[in-house]
Subunit: 327 residues, 2 copies
């Protein structure tokens, strides 16, 4: 609706598609800042869908995700791929600014025009991932990346979310993490397409692999479904990165041949549309200058006049007719 | 809408209000399972709002949250308070089942009828906290708890969420955590009402306090606003727990006198209503037997015919008139 005199978006998109890093950076910033130009950016990008393979990389703090992502980028570059990395910083819910630290380890790729690395704050309402992560991934896709990797700390919902965003989800474990397999049992094992046991040169790595294999073997899978491999790596030395790339490619082939790729991408678009619509509703309900309906209902809930479910019904009624009701 | 012959909810609520642990457990289960009786439970509970002080306890893995919560419960019991604890297990997004481990440390309170402890999975869509956490807290409130504590791992969004749920948010730090103050700087410092530096007998604890105090001192606060105290504890020995209880009570008084309590509770109800309404919309859009509108839009987004924002507009139009449009 509110359309300011924006920078020339079609030109920016054209320059990003030509591989100009500055244009890519500018587009992601427009997306992250929810700038008035956001809608124009998205409309322009949708006319240029790319062919990127979307990776989600997740794991508990300390398993060596950043080092592994770094090694993976090196291996992908050696295979001639253009790579985009979105590193979600979960410690920064408000500022949106990324802390340094792990990021620095990727600086060896900083001058490589075939690699685009961006740290994003996790300030959104979708849990660990910022709401703008799918949009930023779209920018990298349109900019011609062959692989777009989203790296996030796997705690709570975020590994489920990153799986929702990815074509291929890579779950990382490492020996010596108290919560390794225990956390894995509880949920991670349902989202991984590829498992990586990093720090494979340390004591206990073989035990993690064995335990992981046993748990995976107990999972019932229909015939023809993907059987997640386990890749052993020592990311700090780059060991295992080539094998990981090979498994990613093998999974990509399976996705295309099985029809699962189309299914996942539709599901992803579904979630993306839904998130945008819900954010718009939130804004409408919270409209300070408007009816303040939600505020009034909240006061009634606090005073015990109405329960939150009845209040939610009222709120939804204000949106208009639901299915079955008269239009 | 769908109202099955449910167990006698009013009777369950009456028994829970009389302090019967089995009835409390049953009600929380009904709430957690989103049972058909959920709405009746909530309607019944809203007629009996309690007077509980809601605490949020958050901090990075390893700071000793469970041990601290345990020590806090002991101190609160000594002060004659009835206590409810909801421990959110972030490693369990799917199963909803709580892992053991830290929970076991609280078993000393297991036979105390004045303490109700419940582990909840973090399976909801609101990030770290399950969507049913506010409802479960309501059950404990109605059951006559003087204090209801929600304990959650502070990574990413969850500390912000738990702050949204709580009257008083307690942020825990400890020496020797690499991410301690660094993470704090990025966001935690904006949500804490009380800071706890646990493991105060270890090297570095004084440094954490000093650094924390410096950062807090830099935060501008309007006159008359709450100045978060820092409490040093050794939770494993119960040291500092009495002081923490005193600070919690002091904050409670400030909340009531400043009018902040009413403001926070209205904001909390607002978020709760919103979350329920959004969940209902999600269900409506995803209705498999229905129009499948969201699926059709998702396919159009994948094929590049429409961008996600335009698709979200379509979805919202299907809900009926927005503000300004004709009714």
């Amino acid at each position: 609706m509110s359309r300011r005199t924006a920078p020339a978006i079609p030109e920016l998109v054209a320059r990003a598609r030509a591989g100009e890093a500055g244009a890519v950076a500018r587009l992601i910033t427009l997306v992250e800042d929810a700038s008035p130009a956001l809608r124009e950016v998205m409309a322009e990008l949708s006319a240029h869908p790319g062919t990127a393979h979307f990776l989600g990389i997740t794991g508990s703090p300390g398993v060596g995700k950043s080092t592994s992502t770094n090694a993976l980028v090196t291996a992908l570059r050696r295979a001639g791929k253009r790579v985009g990395v979105l590193a979600i910083d979960p410690s920064s819910p408000f500022s949106g600014g990324a802390l340094l630290g792990d990021r620095v380890r990727m600086s060896e790729h900083a001058l490589d025009p075939g690699v685009y690395i961006r740290s994003m704050g996790a300030r959104g309402h979708l849990g660990g991932l910022s709401w703008s992560t799918p949009q930023a991934a779209r920018v990298l896709d349109a900019a011609g990346c062959d692989v777009v990797a989203v790296e996030t700390v796997g705690v709570g919902q975020s590994e489920v979310e990153v799986a929702g965003l990815a074509d291929t989800t890579i779950v990382m474990l490492a020996p010596g993490m108290g919560d390794g397999i225990q956390a894995a049992k509880a949920g991670i094992l349902e989202v991984g397409d590829i498992y990586v046991v990093n720090k494979a040169d340390r004591d206990g790595a073989e035990g993690v692999r064995r335990e992981l294999r046993n748990v995976l073997a107990m999972t019932e899978r229909p015939a023809g479904s993907w059987r997640p491999p386990i890749v052993m790596t020592v990311a700090s030395k780059g060991e295992g990165a080539e094998e990981l790339v090979a498994e990613i490619e093998r999974h990509g082939e399976w996705l295309r041949e099985s029809g699962e790729l189309a299914r996942r991408r539709t599901a992803r678009a579904r979630r993306e549309i839904e998130a945008i619509a819900l954010a718009a509703l939130r804004e409408r309900w919270g409209d300070v200058g408007g009816r303040g309906e939600l505020d009034q209902l909240a006061e009634q809930v606090v005073s015990g006049d109405v329960d939150p479910y009845a209040a939610a019904d009222d709120l939804l009624l204000s949106l208009g007719p639901s299915r079955g009701a008269t239009g």
